[in-house]
C-alpha cells in the first residue's frame, strides 16, 4: 500500500511537453511535398521517353536541380518522422529505439546520396 495521495500519483503524469516540433515538422514537410511531388510526377511523365542525355540535362537545369534537392529533403524528412511514429506504436523497448536509430541513419544516408547525385549531375552537364 502506498501512502501517496491519488493527486500525488496523478501529478506529473500528463503531457511530455515536447513533441510539438515533431508534429509541426510532419505537417510542414507534408505541405512542401504537395507542390514538389506533383511537379516531380508531371516532370517524370513528360520525360518518360527521354534517354540518359535528356534526363541528365533536365536534372542539371538550375530550377529542376533546386526543386529536386528540396523534394529529396522534404520527402526523406517526412518519411523518417512518419516511420518513427509507426515504430513507436508497434515496436516497444530497446528494439524500438534501435529500429528508430537505424531508420534515421538510412534516411540521412539516402538524403545525402540524393543531394550529392543532383549536384554531381548538375556540375557534369555544365562542363
Amino acid at each position: 500500500m502506498s501512502l501517496q495521495s491519488p493527486l500525488g500519483k496523478a501529478l506529473g503524469q500528463g503531457s511530455a511537453h515536447t513533441g510539438l516540433d515533431h508534429w509541426l515538422a510532419q505537417r510542414s514537410t507534408a505541405i512542401a511535398i504537395v507542390p514538389l511531388g506533383l511537379w516531380f510526377i508531371i516532370s517524370m511523365v513528360s520525360l518518360q521517353h527521354g534517354n540518359y542525355e535528356i534526363v541528365s540535362a533536365w536534372i542539371a537545369e538550375p530550377l529542376n536541380a533546386i526543386l529536386l534537392i528540396l523534394l529529396v529533403i522534404a520527402l526523406l524528412y517526412h518519411s523518417m518522422i512518419g516511420l518513427q511514429v509507426i515504430v513507436e506504436d508497434y515496436v516497444s523497448g530497446g528494439l524500438g529505439y534501435l529500429t528508430s536509430i537505424f531508420l534515421q541513419f538510412i534516411h540521412v544516408l539516402l538524403a545525402v546520396a540524393g543531394i550529392y547525385s543532383v549536384i554531381i549531375i548538375s556540375l557534369g552537364a555544365g562542363q
Binding site: I41, S56, G82, G114
Partner: protein, 127 residues
Amino acid sequence: MARIDRPLSPHLAIYSWMISNTLSIVHRMTGVALSFGAVALVGWLVSIVAGYDAYSLVNYLLASIIGSLALFGWTFCFFYHLCNGIRHMCWDVGKGFERIRAQQSGILMLTVSIILTVGLWAIVLAG
C-alpha cells in the same frame, strides 16, 4: 481463490471493421510504401551519377512488369496519401470531425485518389 482475469486494454478485436479505420490504416500502409518509393527515387538519381550502364539497368527494372506495377502502386499511394493528408489537416484545424462528415470525406478522398491515378496512367500510356 480463483485467479481474477482482469480485462486487458486495448481490446482491438472488439471494434468492428469500418470505413474510417480501414482508410486510416491504409494511410500508414501507403506511407510505408512511399518510403520505399523514396529509396527508388534516390537509387534512380545515384544510377545517373554511376553512369550510362547503371542508369540503363535501373530503367530496365522500372520498365519491367514488376517495376511498372511498383510505379503504378506508388502513384496511387502518393495520391491517396496526399488526399488523405489534406483530410487529416482539415481535422487538425477542427473541421469535418463529425462521424457522417468524416465518412463522406473518406469516400470522396478515395474516389479522387483513384481518379487521379487512373487519369495519370491514361496520360502515361497515351504518351
